[in-house]
Amino acid sequence: MNSKIYFDGSIMTAELIGEIDHHSAKNARMEIDALIQQKKPAELRLDFSGISFMDSSGIGLIMGRYRMMLLYGGVLRVVNVPHDLERIMILSGLGALDIFERQGEVYECT
């Protein structure tokens, strides 16, 4: 997995590309967390549009960044989740956190 990270004011966006598993999540996590600590963004947007595969390591990645943003007083948004990944997102129970956003509209994940 690769990540393209950019800033727009206080919004940090990480575009994730490729496959998320336990192996690939490690580097992405370190890269994203270093920038959160350095820039303390008000909002972190994780863009999943380029993710072709994800297992529960992706859920761990989201949960960890959620906590990290909470710690720094910011919010997390998870955007552009591909249709293939909706099932695992729903299964995770992350829907209760109200972090999902798709094409500008928030959708329910129950």
Binding site: H22, F53, M54, D84, R87, L91, S92
Partner: protein, 147 residues
Amino acid sequence: MNVLNEMELSFESRSSNEGFARSSVAAFIAQLDPTIGELNDIRTAVSEAVTNCIVHAYRDTIGKIIVNVKITADNTVIIKVRDKGCGIEDIHKAMEPLFTTAPSEERAGLGFAVMQSFTDSLNVHSRVGKGTTVTLKKNLSRRFGNG
């Protein structure tokens, strides 16, 4: 159980092999002409089982992981993922959603829940100090061109 085809992989418990394992199983299954959804379910379940061997069974060590895949005459795929690692003390507890022994490493405790939901049957056999075997079964829809 009439086995039509079988393959077996043996590899070291290095995290760089997670992608290799799920892709290899998917490539073997491709001969059944599965749907994209079925293929994705299998890749996800295999990834969970193999990652558990790497993260939990052989924690801080490197051991062998064996992945055995059988295709049966009734279009079922049977996948066994075997390690000779630490084993699981309480399987019932381990299989509860959100239960994890490695929360500090961002494990969600969802691996077994995902395996259960993405396959038709999940069976876990484990002995402490001896290792664990996870058996996954998935019935594929019969489509034109199979067999």
